[in-house]
Amino acid sequence: MRVRTIIVSLVWGILSGSFLLSCKKTDTVGKSPVPLSFPKPAGWPDTKYDFSQNPLTREGFELGRKLFFDGRLSKDGNFPCASCHQPFAAFSTYEHDLSHGFNNQFTTRNATALFNLAWQTEMHHDGGIANLDLQPLAPITAPNEMAETIPSVLEKLSADPDYVQQFKVVFGSPEITTARMTKALSQYMLMLVSASSKYDRVKAGKDVFTENEAAGYAIFLKKNCNSCHAEPLFTDLSYRDDGLPLNSSLNDVGRMRITGKKEDSLKFRVPSLRNILLTKPYMHDGRMVSLDAVYDHYSKKNPLSSVERGLLTEFFRSLTDSSLVENPALADPN
């Protein structure tokens, strides 16, 4: 009961906050944007993103949010960032191994869930993108994803007086440039912080695991899952070959494509287990349709009984963060 009250008041707070914000907007001309502080969870490691080069503001965040859900960033208008990164799927593509792109094409990898990006220095399954600000350029220009060109996106946005006004408020002048667009997108994506799951409440002493969840957590630790899926991010952000054979139709060699080093062949970044119940299918190419398939794979080296699998799943459920996936402040603004 207590939990429910908290959630309700939180939502009310967000709604009233955005209400105030929209009231303010009418007379923000010439005013500087309102600073927004990054919600760094207590006890977490330092963030890696350089906020000094892109100070968070309410208006910058809102602009990024609008861009994230705007189809005009794609060639035919049908593929906003959010088409592959759906809020209800923890910003991955719900129940899709590969996602859909321009002109009935598939992507070549499973869409990564987007959250806790402020702690990452390299983006994507292979770490090939060296800065969060650079990340949107890849899907926007990929012919099988959003299939656009950067100049064309900037032209479309510049033709919209609302955008011109918003960029002016956020950046001090109305020019819409590559750097400004990607900084605004980063502001939104940085605020996708997943740190309010039941697991987090338990860690903060505000909730308790059920017996099954506690048993599942014990198995998670005993089986050394945390040697790669390290808390609190539930990933150590390293690149590893976990024994998946090469998919010959995709021929994806992973990290080796970036470094050119043989020893990086078939290495992919360890994904976070946060929100894992929302992000199936699993692995970089979505080849495993269920957690059971994943358990089967890891059982080859580290046998898991059916009871252990059930308990692990109970624990993983506690990593689902409704304040990320159901937060109206992070949802489509339209």
Binding site: A130, N131, G260
Partner: protein, 254 residues
Amino acid sequence: MKKTYILLMVGLGFFSACQKEASVESPPTAHLEVRIHPEINGEPLQLNVPYTNGFGESFTVTTIKFYTGQFSLGDQLSGSSELSAGEPYFLSDLSTPSTLSFSTPIKPGTYNQLSFLIGVDSARNVSGVQSGALDPANGMFWTWNSGYIYLKMEGNSPVSNQPNGKFEYHIGGFQSPNSSIRLFIANLSAPDQWELAKGKTISFDIVYSLDNFFNSSFPLRISETPVCTTPGELSSAIANNIAAAFQVTNFEIK
């Protein structure tokens, strides 16, 4: 008449330098001008015109674009050098001849060395989205494996085994050991020196020789290697040829 024109140009340069320096202590009040001349077989290189390289391979070029930057003047003996104060990088595009010449403010002084980067320094490859010449919207950026394309050369050749006889060289990469960034240095032979006084402009004519691009330390035959579009050993080898393709042929101070 010509003299008046030159004086006017210098005057304008002086004014703009004054405006910029409001917060800088000692403003650079001289200029370094670069004029790049793409050539083949000693002739000005033109797009969409058939040529033959040193291996007897005929080809036409449809695109040449490249980055140069961090232009500096220095002293060979002391090793000191003065970085130009204007735009850090310039994107030259053969299809827009005005981009082959550019000028940047620099501190007056006595120099005997010119240096610049062919490519983009590694920090700017990874630290967020840059603007100006380095704006990724200019199409000289790899999005899936972050980094700038330092030089793009595309065209067609009957000896290429690719569709439509295409050849395509996109040269870049900053990770060791296959970095394709090259530092170009031209030393003035002693005892000559460049006395660059206040208000003066030192101009360099720099040839970009396509003969050397194909045939320097790495013999680049279109028939054998029609495509290089990723960072790596090959890219780095071609970058050595690119560095050898730049040659200072003339300079003047006025």
